[in-house]
């Protein structure tokens, strides 16, 4: 085999250089195809990630813990104690961040208007780690601590209530004993997010909300974040630690986001297949030409005593060298491009469109080396595979007929 390769490889290399234009075209087709598959795959993955994060980073997190029944009836009736030592230990694992909240339906009233909202009592320091809202204050400031008795409302809600930072609003909700409670809050800050979030959520300190609603130390939910890989085991451990609690992943909490995520992955796959097919057509075309144009030559090689297997090997080696070089160049080019874009692609020029699709303004592309490897091998193998049929035909052609073949 090695002797055959020593004979064939230099011959194959020279054959590639013999028709430089065609080799160059094939090389470029493979580069563009490989680059496009990897780059757009990465871009669409980043888009999917951004869309997902834009939703999950708002409030949901990677998963949430509630008292059983809360998700069907998210009111003051279904609360749970602040996490004890065991849960806190699990939630303090490396890579996991969490925050406890009180979250109840409420009504907010200004001197002009009265609107339904969700009152959320938060631990500001923890909230900073898992939610984007504390970082989205556009006027005033965020809450200082769990006992802060100010309130943060959305910018759009403020417009609807005709209120502003420094003014007072009344928040009404039902306390644990069933009594209606109301409390006056000073608007401390306005946050900007998506319109639905701006209209729906108002935030105060956790202790302040607990006091107003007569909850004692109880809370409505714990939201936590972890890596995708880590998430299932964290959920399982939490559920095992306290089976009375309802621990759910973001897919279960936000089915629309999960469906969108799945759709994006499906779209990415379809895109990759389309690019792959386009590139395949280019490769098949040029490789077929390469073989058909040289039928006479293969006939000669057969006539002077070259075995069909060696002719087949020659065509495969040519394809291997050409496709391999294109695949590697395309993959390398894409990796370099993505690394150059480490600051992200700023989509603010189409911010409204991006927002419509739920994505952030900046997309962060990542090189997934496993993906690069898989696509590299896939495209390379395919490039070689498509030459097999014409190569087998050429290798087994009758020498006389082959040599009489019009060039």
């Amino acid at each position: 085999m090695i002797e055959s390769l020593v004979l064939i490889v230099p011959l194959a290399w020279r054959n590639l250089l013999r028709n430089r234009r065609r080799s160059l075209i094939t090389f470029i087709v493979v580069i563009i195809g490989m680059y496009s598959i990897l780059f757009f795959n990465s871009l669409l993955n980043a888009w999917a990630q951004s869309t997902r994060n834009a939703t999950l980073d708002l409030m949901t997190g990677s998963a949430q813990i509630h008292a059983r029944g809360y998700l069907n009836d998210p009111t003051i009736a279904h609360v749970m104690p602040f996490p004890g030592t065991t849960l806190q230990h699990i939630l303090s694992a490396p890579g996991v961040t969490w925050a406890a909240r009180v979250r109840v339906p409420a009504i907010v009233q200004s001197e002009y208007k009265l609107l339904p909202v969700t009152l959320t009592g938060v631990m500001p320091a923890q909230e900073m780690k898992i939610s984007t809202i504390p970082h989205a204050i556009v006027e005033g400031q965020y809450l200082a601590n769990p006992s802060d008795n100010g309130i943060i409302i959305g910018r759009h809600l403020a417009q609807r209530l005709k209120t502003r930072v420094g003014k007072h609003v009344i928040v009404m909700s039902q306390s644990r004993d069933g009594a209606n409670q109301e409390q006056s809050y000073t608007v401390e800050g306005l946050f900007a997010g998506n319109k639905a979030a701006e209209d729906d959520f108002i935030f105060t300190g956790l202790a302040t909300a607990q006091h107003m609603l007569n909850l004692g130390g109880n809370i409505s939910e714990i939201s936590f974040k972890s890596s995708d890989a880590q998430l299932p085991s964290v959920i399982a451990t939490l559920q095992k630690a306290d089976p009375s609690l309802d621990v759910r992943s973001w897919q279960s909490l936000s089915p629309f986001t999960a469906a969108t995520d799945q759709f994006m992955h499906g779209f990415t796959l379809i895109w990759s297949i389309i690019m792959f097919v386009l590139m395949a057509i280019g490769i098949v075309n040029t490789q077929l030409m390469t073989v058909i144009e040289r039928v006479r030559e293969f006939g000669l090689l057969r006539a002077i005593g070259m075995k069909p297997a060696l002719i087949l090997l020659q065509v495969i080696v040519e394809s291997c060298l050409l496709t391999g070089a294109g695949v590697i160049a395309g993959a390398a080019g894409c990796v370099v491009t993505i690394q150059q874009l480490h600051n992200g692609i700023d989509l603010s020029f189409l911010a409204r469109g991006a927002e419509f699709f739920g994505a952030g303004h900046v997309l962060y592309l990542h090189v997934i080396f496993q993906q690069v490897l898989v696509f590299t091998l896939l495209v390379w193998s395919f490039g070689v595979l498509v030459t097999l049929w014409p190569a087998v035909k050429a290798a087994h052609a009758n020498p006389v007929e082959a040599m009489n073949h019009a060039a």
């Binding site: 006539a303 002077i304 005593g305 069909p308 006389v400």
Partner: protein
């Protein structure tokens, strides 16, 4: 008398026994019709006849490039009809040298590499390979042109490289199909001289399919074909 010897004791390299070849089609074409012929070691023979007489078909049968519809072709007592494709390929590699009308050199290899290529297929050691190829090129008068690729050689020179390639493997017979057809007069004369010389000095056996009178007049055996049959076969001294 041995099977591979004829009546006057010369060893027979090629023996065609009643071979026929019919190409199928809407109107089947009978290219060879009961051909019986033997080629002896050392023959310098021309196979002449008008176009369509069956010269090339017969050369293809003898060269193991095609199979007869009927009859037997024996090369050094190997019956080509009995051999499978791989065995035929091996036989072509080791026992037959080809010179084609269109030179048919490998365009990406130099003259030396073209000649050497046959020996590489035969797994001849590198040093021996190089020495034999250089000598073969020297024998055909192409010393100093070893590194040139076919595109940088004249037609005559390319045909000389093809002859060197045919000879270097020391085949039992060299089959040449219209070797002078694409050459100018001077190159054609030189090629004929070269083949004659190789026959006389090295004892190389040649069977040359041609209708070039210059070739026919120089060969010492003349075989004539018409309509797929041998119509004349004579030695001239």
């Amino acid at each position: 008398m041995r099977r591979d010897q004829n009546a006057d004791g010369a060893s027979i390299i090629v023996s065609c026994r009643d071979i026929s070849k019919t190409y199928p089609g809407a109107v089947p074409v009978r290219a060879l019709n009961g051909v019986d012929i033997s080629i002896r070691r050392g023959d310098f023979a021309s196979l002449a006849g008008p176009s369509g007489s069956g010269k090339t078909t017969l050369l293809n049968m003898i060269g193991g490039l095609d199979r007869p519809s009927n009859g037997h072709v024996l090369i050094d007592n190997d019956d080509l009809v009995q051999l499978n494709n791989n065995e035929l390929t091996g036989l072509r590699l080791h026992k037959i040298g080809f010179v084609f009308q269109a030179y048919n050199l490998i365009p990406v290899l130099s003259a030396l590499e073209n000649v050497e290529f046959i020996l590489r297929l035969q797994n001849v050691p590198a040093r021996q390979r190089r020495e034999r190829s250089m000598k073969a090129l020297a024998d055909v008068g192409l010393s100093g042109m070893e590194a040139r690729r076919p595109g940088h050689l004249s037609g005559g020179q390319q045909q000389r490289v093809a002859v060197a390639r045919a000879l270097v493997a020391r085949p039992a017979i060299v089959l040449a199909d219209e070797p002078t057809a694409n050459l100018d007069s001077k190159s054609a004369e030189e090629l004929i001289d070269l083949m004659d010389q190789l026959n006389q000095t090295a004892g190389m056996t040649f069977l040359i399919g041609t209708h070039d009178p210059r070739v026919i007049n120089r060969t010492r055996r003349h075989i004539a074909m018409t309509d797929g049959r041998i119509t004349a076969d004579e030695y001239r001294h």
